[in-house]
Symmetry: D2
Subunit: 366 residues, 4 copies
């Protein structure tokens, strides 16, 4: 089953393994005429690059993107865009022993159950490096959304017990703090917490929030292709995400309707909402408010303290994971959440083009 593709019209297919020759993505269905340069993609990839801070894996990769097709004279042509990133820092030896046992919290066992064997080097296909393709495609999607005035802001909302103070929200800080928190002081506390985790050979989880502004009302479909349903799939398909919230999310279950409904009102001759508990989506369709979502990310499963597990021979053993691992997945996953959100909105934008006869008449001019 072609499970490596996402999207209906704006459709990407990622490919590649952690320790193979290269990884990347094909993006098919991007409209012709979008200005696109390899630097647009590199800027996104640099945000997920390892080895940049002491709280991310010391594996250093240039992660340099090449665009091999789909653009001409600086613009997309409407044909598939192939982005490729070579692997340069594979140290497969680190991983040779995991060939034979199943790491808790990883996909080793389930891969074997499904396929009978696996490329075990660095997690193979289920490595976080697969997200390189997603981030590259997200850069293209974000470029497209930018043409319509849409803007995405993803950031770390919490790491372990440390939650950002929204009063100190500094949009610039997201790209400068090692945690991707928009509050430098909270970020410092989170770093200290992570240092303790590392000392204990342990790891931490956290929460990523993404806000998309400028989305026109009317994107998304009313039944299965609801915008929130596709966002939930997009975000839950990122490894380690265990819960997805839209708008006020889990809090709505303990509220009254009178508190939770967002009243409509007029502003400058346009219909707007006086509140946004819904997170910008009603009945699966964007309502013109900011779209807001959160991903809950589990602690890195690769920990250095000893763990009980079994091997392929069915023997119970104790292991201590080696290799190079981040103590928390969240900071490097921030751009992945942003990318998946951008891709989902881009697809909805394209799907919406044929929603009504009136749209088609604008295009085909009859």
């Amino acid at each position: 089953m072609a499970g490596s593709s996402f999207g209906n019209i704006f459709r990407l297919t990622t490919w590649g393994e952690s320790h193979g020759e290269a990884l990347g993505v094909v993006i098919d269905g991007c409209p012709a005429g979008v200005s696109l340069d390899v630097a647009d993609i590199q800027a996104y990839l640099d945000r997920r690059k390892p080895g940049q801070t002491r709280i991310s894996t010391p594996r250093r990769e240039a992660d340099a993107a090449e665009i091999l097709s789909g653009t001409f004279e600086g613009r997309t042509t409407g044909t598939p865009i192939l982005v490729l990133v070579r692997n340069t820092s594979q140290r497969s030896a680190d991983y040779s022993e995991i060939a034979n046992y199943y790491r808790p919290g990883h996909a080793d066992y389930t891969f074997d159950a499904k396929y009978g064997f696996r490329d075990y080097r660095g997690g193979g296909r289920s490595s976080g490096r697969e997200t390189i393709g997603r981030v590259a495609a997200g850069a293209v999607a974000a470029k497209l959304l930018g043409e319509f005035g849409m803007e995405l802001t993803a950031y770390t909302k919490s790491i372990g017990p440390v939650t950002v103070d929204m009063d100190k929200f500094d949009r610039q800080a997201i790209r400068t703090t090692p945690t991707c928190m928009p509050d430098a002081e909270a970020s410092a506390r989170a770093e200290s917490y992570l240092a303790d985790c590392m000392k204990n050979y342990d790891s931490a989880g956290g929460v990523i929030e993404c806000v998309i502004s400028g989305v026109p009302a009317g994107l998304g479909d009313p039944v299965f292709e609801k915008l929130d349903a596709n966002l939930a799939k997009a975000v839950m398909s990122i490894g380690a995400v265990k819960a997805v919230e839209i708008g006020d999310g889990v809090e709505v279950s303990s509220r009254h309707g009178s508190e939770n409904n967002d009243p409509f009102r007029m502003q400058d001759g346009r219909i707007v909402k006086a509140a946004n508990h819904a997170g910008g989506i009603l009945g699966g369709i964007s309502d013109g408010s900011d779209i807001i979502l959160r991903a809950h990310v589990k602690p890195t499963p690769s920990i250095f303290s000893p763990q009980k597990t079994v091997n392929r021979q069915g023997e119970e053993i104790e292991i201590a994971v080696k290799g190079r691992h981040d103590p928390v997945i969240v900071p490097r996953a921030v751009v992945v959440v942003e990318a998946m959100a951008a891709i989902t909105i881009a697809d909805a934008l394209l799907m919406g083009a044929s929603a009504k006869l009136e749209n088609l008449k604008k295009i085909y001019g009859r």
Copy 2:
């Protein structure tokens, strides 16, 4: 865009509006040879039927299913199964005035933004009655899963502040309490809470949990077609759901890896897990443990207290919703969550059939 379909191989398409002639579903891709009778479907539909308790809308519908194709001599034939339910209790007059304004918390405004106009009667396509098709398809999926020893249990975990006590979990009670809570005492408290809501012309939200047992390890795909990603989409595509959790869900973000990882161990010669924080899915693929998910459902947006909104002419007005509405969506949505889970697992089961050469050799016998 064909947004009314769900699933890759086991694929359903729902159709129908709240106040049209009928609603239903086409299920394509169900394997031939599954025993199926209209009673199998009716039993599921009866669980979502309105008018059965004082906490559900007094609209009474027989919601009698007809199977018009796809079965022969009591078994599925591998061809599309059409299930149809006639609408019998439409009272469109109740809704005539909503043609002209936008109810807060509903899809009225976003439909107009997308399509330019809408079938406003009873919410039209965005009515909860659309789920009739999902539930019918879920009944078929559950029948198929039953052939492999899989079993689904969905129930109400909370309504407003009332949460079920897992020590008093009574599987039978789910189908007998009006709240679908498996704890009669909690259910009584929830009913009392809802009576207060109704007295205040207000509504409540809640949480639905679904547990699927007997799922073999190896279902689901490692990248975008992750089993949890598809479950998240399936469940988030149900109107009013604002958050989806898998396994321990939102709690994982504040945990350490050493707490959250599920160790593997041997039991009766088989690999099992000693814990199930993951909710039965690792790397997007089932691990043989119970699959566990939760849906957070917002309070019914249709409330009888006055609300501010705007009309199609762009005037700010105050409205009080009329018609027949449940004070809480949760109890009738329990079977919808179960249905969507069944459909998702069934699709993964079929997709898995071609995952490895060895499987194909078993089938084609070379």
Copy 3:
């Protein structure tokens, strides 16, 4: 596998068996705002109705269409359109003996090979009655294409040795001659030829041509979703079609490039072609000329003369098919070819809406 669906955005799913309760189609993805009435669909269905002439099966069916969803106040709403036709003239007894053997030229054997058993009554799912759903969807597609000035003309080009004389082409005659030939004199000769076939307990084949005018240049995709590739699939998916030609079709293989290329020239300030050997498609994309295609239809496999075959027990037997059968499939398949062409063009029209940034800017107005 969901093999009963066709189209990417304008997507239909047919359902139903020859002798089941009903057959029909769900059409998802039709844009909102297209004027549509049940009479639009009935007019198309009437063109494939049996029992109208002495060269079609005496099975008489009203084949009355009902629209159960997807329209409101005479226009499509953008939601799925369910069209249902009840079966009224089933005489299953006629078919009971075919339960046990394999008719040459039919799908009885291959169904058993695939699914293990089959609804044998009247051919079940592989009956020509399945095309009712296609024709209903084709009527909707044609309505949509009409909004853009496109027009479809399908007709019988030959039956056995009788070919229409294009000098006597009378567009009106297509709907009045029992053969759907646009040349009354040729039609009379074809009828006489068919009378001979019937006398000999035999059947005849023929050719259907379809011309689509008014198609704007630019529809279709350059690689796998080529307009001609999709037309070929659409037409070859009609039972009994064994060859599909686009433009000059099989003749091109014996030509020189200098003869076969269509020169471009200017006319009234627009680019047109001075010839149309290509049948209106270049590189998979419409070129603004008429689209021309032909389907070669095999002779009706149900013949009354004795034939050798085998039964389910693996015994060689001789059979003589009974029941009610047309001596030629072509006349009733004319509207099916037209419907499939309309559906394919409609889908390309919708897919084209997001082909370039400029289109999207026209819609979303930035």
Copy 4:
């Protein structure tokens, strides 16, 4: 729209332009465990390589394949297989002038109509070089089919007026004659014919036939995913193909049913057919006989004699195409037809795995 993908479960996406950095394909959904080496792919690619005979373009390309993902220790892993071929012999200068006008018989005009501009170098995306990705994927599909004893034989059946004599059919000759004809004498006559074409600055068309043996009965679907419908799409999606025939193809339209039906009989305890007019497919499903199809290929549109056309400014001009072009497309397209057939059958094989409950029980063992 993602028009660069083909297949439902065995799904490929080709990417790349004639004069870009590289071209290739991602194949997703190939089962795990198929033995695969880059040499398997290179052998197929070598059959379409230019510059090998005097009747193919003198553009010389190594067309060396690299596999960048999806295999491990010599076997497929079930994850996407990326095959890349670098372009090495681009001479874009040859093409610079075609940026501004529309070559007859090419996609230049229709690309501009669809996308607003195009990568004109060497035809860009609509170049025959796009088929590199198809052929690479076809090699993988053929490897998979080989595991089940299926074998594909494609060859040149005719070039211009020269048709192969089936009495002199020499399977080995297909890969040694420059025409891919399995009759060396006919091949010599065809070469002489092509030499005349070249002398006249003109080109020729021809016919390719493909026979697939060893296909089990039961592959394909009964409605839109008919095996012949998908083969028709697969083959018609190859540039320059204008007609597709299955089995006796266009001849069936002038036959009687008594001549055209294939009787069933028993052989060695198995059901077989006593004839194969149907070309191995009944009702869209394989019947166990050889599958036979033919593609009619138009003459190369790039001819050196002067032609009338228009430029982007709307001026009528006369042009003489330059560059490096084959006088006939057929010989190098033989392997492309074979590849597309292999891909289509492979997809049907995988889709068939979930057709009946019995199959699933074999896999999941309940």
